[in-house]
């Protein structure tokens, strides 16, 4: 079981390296998709079908949007590589990250042996206390409902931001007062703006 997981993880690492190094944007998007789908298989092997379903579905959605975006872009080839300075800097920071994570990883519980303080009680009593036979949903929407409200708020804020940034023009029409308030416009610009009136 663990050896399959290791093979899958190595496959994912190779996929992400290809995604970074590929010359064409479309092939790196496809490599990102490979990493995502491998991740969902890894979730499935670790016994988390809920997250596996979510991962597959979100990956499909993101791939559709990204491929749609990259196909219609004019310039999809990446030109020029980085110099030696960025390479050295990233190497140094990656080394620092490895050193610190070496010390940090020793503190966390071993793989496959979680602490099980609160989660043990959740797993034992979730079915009878919430009535939901899917323990994950029982925890998400009953024990930890407050966290889920936070997630919904995050998603809502993302939508509001996307709509605010991506809309084509502002809702407010330009008036004479705005021109006075801005103050940095030249006279000819203001005349040009108000030609239609």
């Amino acid at each position: 079981m663990e050896i399959y997981l290791l093979i899958l993880l190595i496959f994912m690492i190779i996929g992400s390296i290809i995604a970074i190094e590929a010359k064409s944007l479309l092939s790196s998007v496809i490599s990102v998709g490979v990493v995502g789908f491998s991740l969902s298989i890894a979730f499935l092997m670790l016994g988390a079908p809920d997250i596996a379903i979510t991962q597959v579905v979100v990956e499909v959605l993101i791939l559709v949007i990204l491929i749609r975006a990259t196909i219609t872009m004019d310039n999809t080839a990446i030109e020029g590589g980085g110099g030696t300075f960025p390479f050295v800097v990233s190497l140094v920071f990656f080394g620092l990250f490895l050193v610190f994570s070496f010390f940090a990883v020793q503190e966390i519980p071993k793989f496959g042996e979680p602490l099980m303080r609160v989660s043990e009680r959740y797993l034992r009593t979730s079915a009878e206390e919430t009535g939901a036979t899917n323990v994950v949903t029982g925890i998400l929407l009953d024990f930890r409902g407050y966290d889920t409200v936070g997630e919904a708020t995050v998603l809502f804020t993302a939508i509001v931001g996307a709509f605010g940034i991506l809309r084509r023009r502002g809702r407010k029409k330009k008036t004479e007062e705005d021109a006075e308030k801005v103050g940095i416009l030249e006279d000819e610009d203001i005349k040009k703006d108000f030609e239609g009136f």
Binding site: I53, N134, L141
Partner: protein
């Protein structure tokens, strides 16, 4: 406004007729599967978020295959905004209704019999609210990227 059947058969919009035929068969299955994932979230793996993303994928498939005029007739960006907001508010209202029994997010409805579709109190209602919210908001993001945005030029140029 032209008839919707004529607009569906219009070959100049959207993708080829092969894609359109396949989508016509597959779309119902996609939507039913998404609704199943949402409604059975408290019994089987899945839940509001995963099911909502599947439903949003259904709308996106419709947009890509038939062009955006047909998809906008099913759900335009105003309807998507309203559904999105109402989903959040419904979820919050279910949480606040818990105060009738004492505290936030109390499961105030009866548990029911285990493995029944109508069981587990407020959890299926929360799933439906989240599913509604995720469907509308992800489709709205897709619309925002494809209609308001400039980089997906072919969709924008369709009627300009």
């Amino acid at each position: 406004m032209p008839d919707i059947d004529e607009e569906i058969r219009d070959t100049s919009k959207g993708m080829t007729s092969i894609v359109k035929t396949v989508v016509r068969f597959a779309l119902g299955i996609i939507v039913i599967f998404g609704a199943y994932i949402v409604l059975y979230g408290h019994l089987t793996p899945g839940g509001g978020f995963a099911g909502g993303v599947i439903l949003a994928c259904g709308y996106i498939v419709l947009t890509l295959a038939f062009g955006r005029q047909i998809a906008l007739r099913k759900m335009n960006n105003k309807a998507a905004s309203i559904l999105d907001t109402s989903g959040v508010l419904a979820f919050l209202a279910i949480g606040l209704l818990g105060y009738t029994g004492g505290y936030f997010f109390l499961n105030f409805l009866g548990r029911g019999k285990m493995f029944d579709l109508v069981s587990a109190g407020t959890i299926p209602l929360c799933n439906i609210a989240i599913g509604l919210k995720v469907t509308a908001s992800l489709f709205a993001i897709f619309l925002a990227l494809s209609i308001f945005g400039r980089f997906i030029s072919s969709l924008v140029d369709e009627d300009e």
